[in-house]
């Protein structure tokens, strides 16, 4: 079978590896040169390569939600501007969710790659800026009601033309962000990453010639599609349904159900969200690209991870999301939490829907929140403004044969935490008192859900905080009779108070988990709790040795072992 291909498999492997490693190295450049901890510690960015039709050619181990979404950001850019608009040395910047960006803080940069005077394709990256110029520091304002409150919107504009900075664009952006120096450094890091990739693609084109590379890329896309179809073909045909909920929206106390009808028909999958709730007033709405990306993410998790990661993977997947709903909101609804919160919810729902169809491959719900906790203020050491997007890991769901992982970032991301020593050095606002796993937070099951965690922070200088959490009211669910994981949340203990209180009780916010612009004073304390993962399978089937180990390691208390598993030491 190999011999019938126009290009030999060796060349294909080499080109595929080359493109993937190029994406990886774009990431290293961004990490090493960027300014904000969300870049250089958390790695909240993704780097990808596209052809002239906006087809993804390669990606690497970045944030799955960004990778899925950037497809839409790039194709929108190419469609709106037209290919003729690009010249060598141009860099396009874009973050408008109503033009295909995931949410306002996520900025995409795109650079055309020309070879011998002809447009070959594009290198692009997308990164979460720690400060987008929203109504409160760090954006992700939990009570925003319009996208305009979520930061400065940038349609696809050239921040560089033919290698020269467009100073006017820079000025507009830098004047609108609270931390222009950080924005400047991070944007430069993104550009350095694009330059590196452009150079590497030139090397590749010089070595092989552009027609070989183009046909290799087409071939790789076809291979990916063929393999993806075969994988989907192995899932039993059927119409599967699942329902989950976004518990509130920061403005009203109503919840927003999401309804999924998943059709597997031969080699294709259709995820239809018709029947989901109308779009929210608050910022929990997903734009279409985010919803589609979340579905892709789930399907990629359920299929062979060695399939080349390019456009072909996505072709057999269709996503139907009616406009005006929480999974495809319309302008100008706020969208910040769609990307961090609604996205993992949608991904988990695909697993939930398929739990009986492919029980050996699915996973129970993860903690399902990025626990976005935003803060900013004036650094008392130098008088400069600062802003930060802090997020957390969660417990992951149990799966066949193994307990869920403890404290890993939700399935839509692949970011790292900010080390305490970096956090406190950069941000004088807090002292981190503790950061730990929470016993009993994993859902019971034959394979237990992973543990969530807890972080306690004491305010050390006046700071303005915002939050956009979920799973404070609705449980991370188990599958196949597995128990639910523990919920998370955020609480505050103000100076002079002895008890933890919700922000509703302490500050009169509309939601306990979604709010913005709350000013905290030195001595106030914040408690962030990260949800655990759901359990997999009947807890009564759990291996007794695993339960004993859980108790001796302190993952499960004896009381809960008794209650959940009927275990007596």
């Amino acid at each position: 079978m190999i011999n019938t291909r126009p290009l030999d498999p060796v060349t294909l492997t080499v080109i595929d590896n080359y493109l993937t490693s190029t994406c990886r190295d774009m990431g290293v450049t961004m990490m090493k040169t960027s300014y904000s901890p969300i870049f250089n510690e958390s790695l909240d960015f993704s780097c990808v390569i596209f052809d002239t039709q906006g087809q993804m050619l390669a990606q690497a181990e970045f944030c799955p939600s960004q990778i899925g979404t950037i497809k839409f950001t790039v194709t929108w850019t190419l469609d709106e501007l037209g290919l003729d608009a690009f010249e060598p040395g141009d860099v396009v910047l874009h973050n408008d969710p109503y033009r295909g960006s995931g949410h306002v803080p996520e900025h995409m940069m795109l650079k055309p790659v020309f070879f011998q005077g002809k447009l070959f394709g594009f290198v692009a990256n997308v990164a979460h800026m720690s400060e987008p110029g929203a109504k409160t520091p760090g954006g992700l304002s939990g009570d925003a009601t319009e996208v305009f409150q979520e930061g400065l919107l940038l349609p696809p504009v050239k921040i560089k033309s033919r290698g020269q900075d467009n100073d006017d664009i820079w000025k507009i952006i830098l004047a609108n962000h609270r931390t222009p120096k950080v924005t400047y450094g991070d944007f430069r890091a993104m550009m350095a990453s694009l330059d590196l990739a452009e150079g590497r693609i030139h090397e590749l084109l010089e070595a092989y010639g552009s027609s070989t590379i183009t046909s290799a890329c087409d071939e790789l896309i076809e291979i990916a599609e063929r393999r993806m179809r075969a994988e989907i073909g192995a899932i039993p045909n059927g119409v599967y349904t699942f329902e989950d909920v976004i518990e509130d929206d920061g403005i009203t106390d109503r919840s927003y159900p999401i309804w999924l009808t998943l059709t597997v028909l031969d080699e294709e999958i259709v995820a239809d969200f018709t029947g989901s709730a109308p779009q929210a007033i608050g910022p929990v709405n997903a734009i279409y690209a985010v919803t589609a990306s979340a579905v892709y993410n789930a399907v990629l998790h359920l299929t062979d991870p060695t399939i080349p990661r390019n456009e072909g993977c996505y072709r057999p997947i269709t996503v139907i999301a009616p406009p005006g709903t929480i999974v495809n909101c319309t302008f100008p609804a706020p969208v910040a939490g769609g990307n961090t919160e609604t996205s993992p919810r949608i991904t988990d729902m695909i697993f939930g829907a398929l739990q009986h169809a492919i029980p050996d491959r699915v996973v129970a719900a993860c903690g399902g929140t990025s626990s976005p906790f935003l803060f900013g203020g004036t650094d008392p050491r130098n008088g400069e403004l600062y802003a930060h997007f802090h997020f957390e890991g969660v417990g992951w769901g149990g799966r066949k044969g193994a307990d869920g992982n403890d404290m890993v970032v939700t399935i839509n991301g692949n970011c790292r935490n900010t080390p305490i020593e970096v956090f406190e050095t950069r941000y004088p606002a807090f002292l981190i008192e503790s950061y730990r796993l929470l016993p009993d937070s994993g859902g019971a099951g034959e394979y237990r859900g992973g543990l969530g965690g807890e972080r306690l922070l004491t305010v050390t200088s006046e700071v303005t905080v915002s939050a956009l959490l979920n799973r404070m009211l609705a449980d991370p669910w188990g599958v196949l009779q597995g128990g639910n994981g523990a919920r998370g949340g955020i609480w505050v203990k103000r100076v002079g108070h002895r008890e933890w209180a919700t922000f509703v009780d302490a500050f009169g916010t509309l939601s306990p988990s979604k709010f913005s612009g709350i000013r905290l004073k030195p001595g106030d304390q914040v408690r962030l709790v990260m949800p655990g993962g759901g359990g997999y399978g009947d807890p009564r089937q759990r291996d007794r040795a695993r339960i004993a180990h859980d108790i001796s390691e302190g993952f499960v208390t004896s009381e809960r072992a008794h209650a959940d598993y009927g275990y007596a030491e």
Partner: protein, 683 residues
């Protein structure tokens, strides 16, 4: 060094399978080698065996440098000590929480790595707190720590790691904690984070400190046993162990800094590359060390290795030690070829290792490997592997490849050739990462090829990267041992303190540089160095706001304002070279001040044995080259060739530990010191 009775300088590299030795006789300049099986249970015996196999007696040894994988293996196989971690209270789960990211995307079966701790209960909180500026927020609670120590007394703890927040700024609490542990848990080895790895990022520092403690009892035993065996056998002088940073330290000292030895073998390989490159007038090298299970690649710029601190025991479990920057990939002679679910031919990273080994070893391996492919292509002589000590079985290799060929629908030689090409491409990609991606054009380098399999693949790898020359050292299969002969004594010290470029006090920097240089020199003298040490200084700098720094060399520790300004300009130039931009007028942050003190030792001039004149006749065998088919290929015994010989490819040059392949269209020259220089004509 010693009288002529004990004059030999000996390097011994103990790997998992073989113990390699190179001995240098300073009187004659002759090099002697041996390769003997390792004896993991009796490491001392393996050394004695290796020494005897080289025809030496221990009392003849004047200097011994040893590299060992005992630490590396204990880390990989998780057979180290049970460690008690003492960490700032409230943060006991840091080794478990880690950095919360995952290794690969889209893999629901992935398991987060476990720390080197035996139990989560062995991570115990210390009531104390230092802040980000080094201020004491909460004094260390002595009574509570004493009580905690007493509580763990019942557990079979073998070593203690201490890692407290911000100890790299203010180590006072860690020092206090150590004193308490010494008192309360006497006799246990202790590793303290501000000494093991004075870096920020608490998880990385804790992980490194745990790893150090994890290896301590083992290395202490190992060094003790070896010392006893060697002394019994008549060793009179001190002996040293290779560190991952390319320096050597007294064995007894190494036992107290065990994590420093984790990558000692590959580090020695880079030393030999630098030295032999300089000897051949080629100070800029890309290195390819291809062995049985993996290939290590690195870069030598202006005769110097690159250093880093990014080492991982496994993905997600870092050990931030100073080491020579080497990239390791799963491409070796034993790498297995397979067809993935999409029908792509792949090679590695899985390896057949030493057992069962490649199919052609006849030790039970049935899956096709790179070595099997090489054999079928005619590139290896089945009768001269390891100098004829191991016969290779062609039929077994053929059977293994046929099976894969049917699956892939490829004829045998085509498949064998493709396997070699994919392995080559994997190595070429790795070399690109250390060269092109850091702004170094491979066309301006020579490829230094060693390890048993390196010289066989180097010509093709060089061709793919358009590297114009390949340098093959003498005894490429023993190159790490050879490198150990070249190791200087070396001590690295760092002072971690952050300054902004606008507010840095040059006089203070000069004072601190002098303090750490004095401390490093004192250590060097304690290791028996009597000469004049060389001190090199550098400052870790980044733009204020960045989180990763660049090492900016400074010429002297006597920092002046003007010297600092020069250093800032150097930083901007380096940043611009690497990333294509500098930010004019931006504040620069100075975060760490490094000194490396080197005790230079007499570097032997290395020369290979050579024939008096190149024999007029050589054997010819048929070798398959893609595109050209079977070509009659002359094969030479390497050490029959004499200096100045020039030959044209295709040809094979064989020696007991390796085979050098010269492709058609390439030429080879035997250099005056016996190294082989291939002109690839590919630049």
């Amino acid at each position: 060094m010693a009288d002529s009775a004990s004059r030999f300088l000996v390097g011994i590299d103990t790997g998992g399978t073989f113990t390699d030795l190179v001995a240098y006789d300073p009187d004659s300049g002759a090099l002697t080698t041996s390769k003997t099986p390792s004896v993991p249970r009796h490491p001392g015996q393996a050394l004695i065996d290796a020494i005897q196999a080289a025809g030496l007696a221990v009392p003849e040894i004047g200097g011994l440098v040893h590299g060992t994988t005992v630490g590396t293996n204990a880390l990989i196989e998780r057979t180290g000590a049970r460690v008690l971690l003492l960490i700032t209270a409230g943060h006991e789960d840091i080794p478990y929480i880690q950095r919360i990211n995952r290794k690969t995307l889209y893999d629901l079966t992935w398991q987060k790595p476990k720390p080197l701790l035996a139990s989560r209960q062995d991570s115990v909180g210390v009531l104390e707190r230092i802040g980000s500026e080094g201020q004491t927020i909460r004094p260390l609670d002595v009574a509570a720590l004493e009580a905690a120590c007493r509580e763990v007394k019942g557990r079979p703890i073998e070593a203690v790691a201490i890692c407290l927040l911000f100890s790299y700024v203010n180590p006072e609490h860690e020092r206090q904690a150590r004193e308490i542990v010494e008192r309360e848990l006497p006799g246990l080895p202790i590793s303290v984070s501000h000494e093991v790895a004075p870096i920020w990022r608490e998880y990385e520092r804790a992980s490194t400190t745990i790893a150090d403690a994890y290896l301590k009892p083992l290395l202490e035993r190992y060094v003790g046993d070896l010392s006893a065996t060697l002394v019994d056998a008549g060793l009179t002088g001190p002996w040293t162990i290779m560190k991952s940073n390319g320096g050597a330290m007294l064995a007894a000292v190494a036992a107290t800094h065990p994590i420093q030895t984790a990558q000692s073998g590959p580090a020695a390989g880079m030393l030999v590359a630098a030295a032999l490159g300089n000897q051949a007038g080629l100070p800029n090298l890309l290195t390819l060390d291809m062995g049985g299970t993996s290939a290590d690649v690195g870069i030598i710029l202006d005769g110097k290795q690159k250093h880093t601190t990014e080492y991982e025991i496994e993905w997600g479990v870092p050990a931030a030690i100073p080491l020579i920057d080497i990239k390791s990939i799963g491409a070796g002679g034993g790498s297995i070829a397979w067809i993935d679910a999409g029908g792509f031919l792949r090679v590695g990273p899985e390896s057949a290792r030493a057992t069962p080994g490649p199919a052609c070893y006849g030790l039970g391996g049935t899956r096709p490997t790179v070595t099997d492919a090489n054999l079928l292509l005619g590139r290896l002589d089945p009768g001269y592997f390891l100098g004829g000590r191991m016969a290779l079985n062609r039929e077994l290799a053929e059977t293994a490849l046929m099976r894969l060929g049917e699956q892939a629908g490829m004829p045998l030689l085509d498949l064998a050739s493709s396997i070699v090409e994919i392995a080559n491409e994997n190595m070429a990609s790795a070399i690109k990462m250390v060269s092109l991606e850091r702004g170094h054009d491979p066309r301006r380098f020579a490829l230094f090829a060693f390890g048993g399999a390196g010289p066989l693949h180097a010509a093709a790898v060089a061709r793919a990267l358009r590297i114009p020359r390949v340098l093959v050292p003498m005894f490429p299969g023993n190159a790490s041992a050879l490198g150990m002969l070249l190791a200087d004594l070396r001590v690295d010290k760092v002072w971690t303190q952050a300054f902004r470029s606008s507010r840095v006090d040059a006089a203070l920097v000069a004072r601190e540089f002098a303090i750490i240089r004095d401390a490093a020199e004192a250590e060097l003298r304690a290791e028996g160095f009597a000469g004049v040490p060389q001190a090199d200084f550098s400052i870790g700098m980044r733009y204020a706001g960045q989180n990763y720094e660049h090492q900016v060399p400074v010429s002297t520790e006597a920092m002046s304002e003007a010297g600092l300004q020069d250093a800032f300009r150097t930083f901007e130039r380096l940043h611009s070279e690497r990333y294509g931009y500098a930010i004019a007028g931006e504040e620069i942050e100075l975060v760490a001040f490094h000194v490396t003190v080197t005790g230079r030792r007499a570097t032997p001039r290395l020369a290979a044995p050579m024939g008096a004149s190149t024999p007029s006749e050589a054997r010819v065998r048929s070798v398959y080259f893609r595109g050209a088919g079977d070509l009659p290929t002359t094969t030479w015994r390497r050490y029959d060739l004499h200096a100045g010989t020039r030959l044209e490819g295709p040809l094979l040059i064989e020696e007991p530990g390796s085979t050098t392949l010269v492709e058609p269209g390439m030429t080879i020259e035997v250099l005056p010191d016996g190294q082989l220089l291939i002109e690839t004509n590919a630049g």
